[in-house]
Protein backbone atom coordinates (compact mmCIF):
# COMPACT_ATOMS: atom_id res chain seq x y z
CA UNK A 1 0.00 0.00 0.00
CA UNK A 2 1.03 3.56 -0.70
CA UNK A 3 -0.42 6.24 1.50
CA UNK A 4 -0.25 9.99 1.07
CA UNK A 5 -1.25 12.59 3.59
CA UNK A 6 -1.63 15.94 1.93
CA UNK A 7 -2.45 19.31 3.42
CA UNK A 8 -6.09 20.11 2.76
CA UNK A 9 -5.12 22.75 0.21
CA UNK A 10 -6.11 22.71 -3.43
CA UNK A 11 -2.51 23.08 -4.61
CA UNK A 12 -1.74 19.56 -3.44
CA UNK A 13 -4.40 17.82 -5.51
CA UNK A 14 -2.03 17.88 -8.48
CA UNK A 15 0.53 16.01 -6.38
CA UNK A 16 -1.98 13.22 -5.88
CA UNK A 17 -2.66 13.11 -9.63
CA UNK A 18 1.04 12.66 -10.33
CA UNK A 19 1.26 9.89 -7.75
CA UNK A 20 -1.80 8.00 -8.94
CA UNK A 21 -0.62 8.23 -12.53
CA UNK A 22 2.74 6.76 -11.63
CA UNK A 23 1.23 4.01 -9.52
CA UNK A 24 -1.26 3.05 -12.21
CA UNK A 25 1.57 2.78 -14.75
CA UNK A 26 3.50 0.52 -12.36
CA UNK A 27 0.44 -1.73 -12.53
CA UNK A 28 0.73 -1.55 -16.34
CA UNK A 29 -2.61 0.15 -16.80
CA UNK A 30 -3.08 1.60 -20.30
CA UNK A 31 -2.85 5.35 -20.71
CA UNK A 32 -6.54 5.93 -21.31
CA UNK A 33 -7.44 4.22 -18.07
CA UNK A 34 -4.62 6.03 -16.28
CA UNK A 35 -6.17 9.33 -17.40
CA UNK A 36 -9.59 8.17 -16.22
CA UNK A 37 -8.26 7.17 -12.83
CA UNK A 38 -6.41 10.47 -12.45
CA UNK A 39 -9.59 12.43 -13.10
CA UNK A 40 -11.65 10.33 -10.70
CA UNK A 41 -9.10 10.48 -7.90
CA UNK A 42 -8.54 14.19 -8.47
CA UNK A 43 -12.28 14.74 -8.15
CA UNK A 44 -12.40 12.81 -4.88
CA UNK A 45 -9.43 14.80 -3.54
CA UNK A 46 -10.92 18.11 -4.63
CA UNK A 47 -14.16 17.21 -2.84
CA UNK A 48 -12.18 16.35 0.28
CA UNK A 49 -10.15 19.56 0.21
CA UNK A 50 -13.26 21.67 -0.30
CA UNK A 51 -15.00 19.86 2.56
CA UNK A 52 -12.06 20.64 4.84
CA UNK A 53 -12.05 24.28 3.75
CA UNK A 54 -15.73 24.53 4.53
CA UNK A 55 -15.16 22.95 7.92
CA UNK A 56 -12.18 25.19 8.60
CA UNK A 57 -10.14 22.07 9.27
CA UNK A 58 -6.37 22.05 9.06
CA UNK A 59 -6.20 18.27 9.21
CA UNK A 60 -4.65 16.52 6.22
CA UNK A 61 -6.52 14.55 3.60
CA UNK A 62 -5.41 10.92 3.39
CA UNK A 63 -5.14 9.10 0.07
CA UNK A 64 -4.25 5.42 -0.06
CA UNK A 65 -3.50 3.22 -3.05
CA UNK A 66 -3.61 -0.53 -2.84
CA UNK A 67 -3.87 -3.51 -5.11
CA UNK A 68 -6.56 -5.97 -4.11
CA UNK A 69 -6.49 -9.05 -6.32
CA UNK A 70 -7.20 -7.73 -9.81
CA UNK A 71 -8.21 -4.25 -8.72
CA UNK A 72 -6.50 -1.00 -7.95
CA UNK A 73 -8.24 0.55 -4.96
CA UNK A 74 -7.89 4.20 -4.06
CA UNK A 75 -9.40 5.63 -0.91
CA UNK A 76 -9.66 9.34 -0.18
CA UNK A 77 -10.57 10.10 3.40
CA UNK A 78 -11.47 13.47 4.85
CA UNK A 79 -13.04 14.99 7.87
CA UNK A 80 -16.53 16.29 8.13
CA UNK A 81 -19.56 15.52 6.04
CA UNK A 82 -19.77 16.25 2.35
CA UNK A 83 -19.62 19.88 1.34
CA UNK A 84 -22.80 21.88 1.55
CA UNK A 85 -22.72 22.05 -2.22
CA UNK A 86 -24.88 18.97 -2.08
CA UNK A 87 -27.78 21.19 -1.00
CA UNK A 88 -29.00 21.59 -4.55
CA UNK A 89 -28.35 19.31 -7.47
CA UNK A 90 -29.32 21.80 -10.14
CA UNK A 91 -29.62 25.55 -10.01
CA UNK A 92 -32.58 27.64 -11.07
CA UNK A 93 -31.36 27.63 -14.67
CA UNK A 94 -31.04 23.86 -14.75
CA UNK A 95 -27.28 23.66 -14.59
CA UNK A 96 -25.89 20.81 -12.50
CA UNK A 97 -23.98 21.72 -9.36
CA UNK A 98 -20.22 21.19 -9.23
CA UNK A 99 -20.67 18.28 -6.85
CA UNK A 100 -23.21 16.60 -9.11
CA UNK A 101 -20.75 16.90 -11.98
CA UNK A 102 -17.95 15.58 -9.78
CA UNK A 103 -19.93 12.52 -8.76
CA UNK A 104 -20.98 11.91 -12.37
CA UNK A 105 -17.33 11.95 -13.43
CA UNK A 106 -16.22 9.57 -10.68
CA UNK A 107 -19.13 7.22 -11.37
CA UNK A 108 -18.37 7.08 -15.08
CA UNK A 109 -14.61 6.76 -14.91
CA UNK A 110 -14.08 3.96 -12.38
CA UNK A 111 -15.53 0.49 -12.20
CA UNK A 112 -17.12 1.02 -8.83
CA UNK A 113 -17.08 3.55 -6.07
CA UNK A 114 -18.57 4.18 -2.68
CA UNK A 115 -18.82 7.29 -0.57
CA UNK A 116 -19.52 6.56 3.05
CA UNK A 117 -19.08 7.97 6.53
CA UNK A 118 -16.18 6.81 8.68
CA UNK A 119 -16.31 5.92 12.38
CA UNK A 120 -14.46 9.13 13.29
CA UNK A 121 -17.14 11.30 11.73
CA UNK A 122 -15.49 11.86 8.38
CA UNK A 123 -16.11 10.54 4.90
CA UNK A 124 -14.19 8.17 2.64
CA UNK A 125 -14.48 7.78 -1.10
CA UNK A 126 -13.39 4.31 -2.24
CA UNK A 127 -12.67 3.99 -5.94
CA UNK A 128 -11.96 0.70 -7.67
CA UNK A 129 -10.58 0.05 -11.12
CA UNK A 130 -10.00 -3.39 -12.58
CA UNK A 131 -6.46 -3.99 -13.73
Amino acid sequence: MVRLRIPARSAYVAVVRLAVGSLARVEEMDEERVDQLKIAVSEACANAVLAHEELGSSEPVTVSFDREDDRLVVEVAHQGSQSDESGSQVDSQGFPSRLVMSFALIESLVDSWQYAPTPDGGMVARLELRL
Binding site: K38, S42, A46, F95, P96, R98
Partner: protein, 115 residues
Protein backbone atom coordinates in the same frame (compact mmCIF):
# COMPACT_ATOMS: atom_id res chain seq x y z
CA UNK B 1 1.41 24.26 -11.57
CA UNK B 2 0.77 27.30 -13.67
CA UNK B 3 -2.28 27.98 -15.78
CA UNK B 4 -1.60 29.99 -18.91
CA UNK B 5 -4.28 32.44 -20.01
CA UNK B 6 -3.91 34.65 -23.07
CA UNK B 7 -6.66 36.90 -24.32
CA UNK B 8 -7.06 38.19 -27.87
CA UNK B 9 -9.88 39.70 -29.85
CA UNK B 10 -11.19 38.56 -33.21
CA UNK B 11 -14.38 39.21 -35.09
CA UNK B 12 -16.19 40.77 -32.13
CA UNK B 13 -15.23 37.86 -29.89
CA UNK B 14 -12.88 37.74 -26.95
CA UNK B 15 -10.79 34.59 -27.19
CA UNK B 16 -9.23 33.08 -24.09
CA UNK B 17 -6.45 30.61 -24.90
CA UNK B 18 -6.05 28.31 -21.92
CA UNK B 19 -2.91 26.25 -21.37
CA UNK B 20 -2.18 23.77 -18.63
CA UNK B 21 -4.33 22.06 -16.05
CA UNK B 22 -7.66 23.49 -14.92
CA UNK B 23 -8.40 22.03 -11.51
CA UNK B 24 -9.57 23.08 -8.06
CA UNK B 25 -6.34 25.07 -7.60
CA UNK B 26 -6.08 26.84 -10.94
CA UNK B 27 -9.76 27.22 -11.85
CA UNK B 28 -10.15 30.43 -9.80
CA UNK B 29 -7.61 32.12 -12.07
CA UNK B 30 -9.74 31.25 -15.10
CA UNK B 31 -12.86 32.44 -13.27
CA UNK B 32 -11.24 35.79 -12.51
CA UNK B 33 -10.19 36.25 -16.13
CA UNK B 34 -13.68 35.47 -17.44
CA UNK B 35 -15.28 37.78 -14.88
CA UNK B 36 -12.84 40.50 -15.89
CA UNK B 37 -13.73 40.11 -19.55
CA UNK B 38 -17.45 40.40 -18.90
CA UNK B 39 -16.96 43.38 -16.61
CA UNK B 40 -15.03 45.07 -19.43
CA UNK B 41 -17.96 44.53 -21.79
CA UNK B 42 -16.82 41.41 -23.64
CA UNK B 43 -20.02 39.42 -23.87
CA UNK B 44 -19.11 37.10 -26.74
CA UNK B 45 -16.40 34.84 -25.48
CA UNK B 46 -14.58 31.87 -26.93
CA UNK B 47 -12.62 29.66 -24.55
CA UNK B 48 -9.95 27.71 -26.40
CA UNK B 49 -9.24 24.47 -24.54
CA UNK B 50 -6.85 22.98 -27.09
CA UNK B 51 -3.91 23.60 -24.77
CA UNK B 52 -5.62 22.12 -21.71
CA UNK B 53 -4.10 18.94 -20.29
CA UNK B 54 -6.62 18.41 -17.51
CA UNK B 55 -10.08 19.70 -16.69
CA UNK B 56 -12.17 18.85 -13.64
CA UNK B 57 -15.58 19.70 -12.24
CA UNK B 58 -14.24 22.95 -10.79
CA UNK B 59 -13.21 24.01 -14.27
CA UNK B 60 -16.59 22.99 -15.64
CA UNK B 61 -18.23 25.04 -12.91
CA UNK B 62 -16.20 28.08 -13.91
CA UNK B 63 -17.31 27.69 -17.52
CA UNK B 64 -20.94 27.31 -16.48
CA UNK B 65 -20.64 30.42 -14.33
CA UNK B 66 -19.16 32.35 -17.22
CA UNK B 67 -21.94 31.17 -19.51
CA UNK B 68 -24.52 32.50 -17.09
CA UNK B 69 -22.74 35.86 -16.91
CA UNK B 70 -22.56 36.39 -20.64
CA UNK B 71 -26.13 35.24 -21.13
CA UNK B 72 -27.24 37.85 -18.61
CA UNK B 73 -25.97 40.34 -21.21
CA UNK B 74 -27.47 38.39 -24.13
CA UNK B 75 -23.99 37.24 -25.01
CA UNK B 76 -22.47 33.89 -25.89
CA UNK B 77 -19.78 31.53 -24.71
CA UNK B 78 -18.37 28.91 -27.01
CA UNK B 79 -15.60 26.39 -26.55
CA UNK B 80 -12.88 25.09 -28.82
CA UNK B 81 -11.89 21.52 -28.10
CA UNK B 82 -10.88 18.53 -30.19
CA UNK B 83 -9.17 16.47 -27.50
CA UNK B 84 -11.15 13.33 -26.80
CA UNK B 85 -10.08 13.18 -23.17
CA UNK B 86 -11.47 16.68 -22.53
CA UNK B 87 -14.58 16.21 -24.68
CA UNK B 88 -15.31 13.13 -22.62
CA UNK B 89 -15.62 15.30 -19.51
CA UNK B 90 -18.29 17.42 -21.19
CA UNK B 91 -20.14 14.36 -22.48
CA UNK B 92 -20.24 12.61 -19.10
CA UNK B 93 -21.64 15.70 -17.39
CA UNK B 94 -24.13 16.49 -20.14
CA UNK B 95 -22.54 19.83 -20.89
CA UNK B 96 -22.19 19.09 -24.62
CA UNK B 97 -25.85 20.07 -24.73
CA UNK B 98 -25.07 23.37 -23.05
CA UNK B 99 -21.95 24.69 -24.73
CA UNK B 100 -21.36 25.01 -28.46
CA UNK B 101 -18.07 23.17 -28.96
CA UNK B 102 -16.04 23.94 -32.06
CA UNK B 103 -13.01 22.34 -33.64
CA UNK B 104 -11.16 25.59 -34.19
CA UNK B 105 -11.10 29.19 -33.02
CA UNK B 106 -11.87 30.27 -36.58
CA UNK B 107 -15.01 28.16 -36.61
CA UNK B 108 -16.05 29.50 -33.22
CA UNK B 109 -15.55 33.14 -34.18
CA UNK B 110 -17.20 32.71 -37.57
CA UNK B 111 -20.40 32.07 -35.68
CA UNK B 112 -22.22 35.39 -35.46
CA UNK B 113 -21.98 36.89 -31.98
CA UNK B 114 -25.17 37.08 -30.01
CA UNK B 115 -26.73 40.56 -30.13
Amino acid sequence: MELGLDVRKSNAHAIVDVKGEVDVYTAPKLREKLIELVSEGSYNVVVNLEGVDFLDSTGLGVLVGALKRVKAHDGSLALVCTQDKILKIFKITGLTKVFPIHSSVEEATDSPPAE
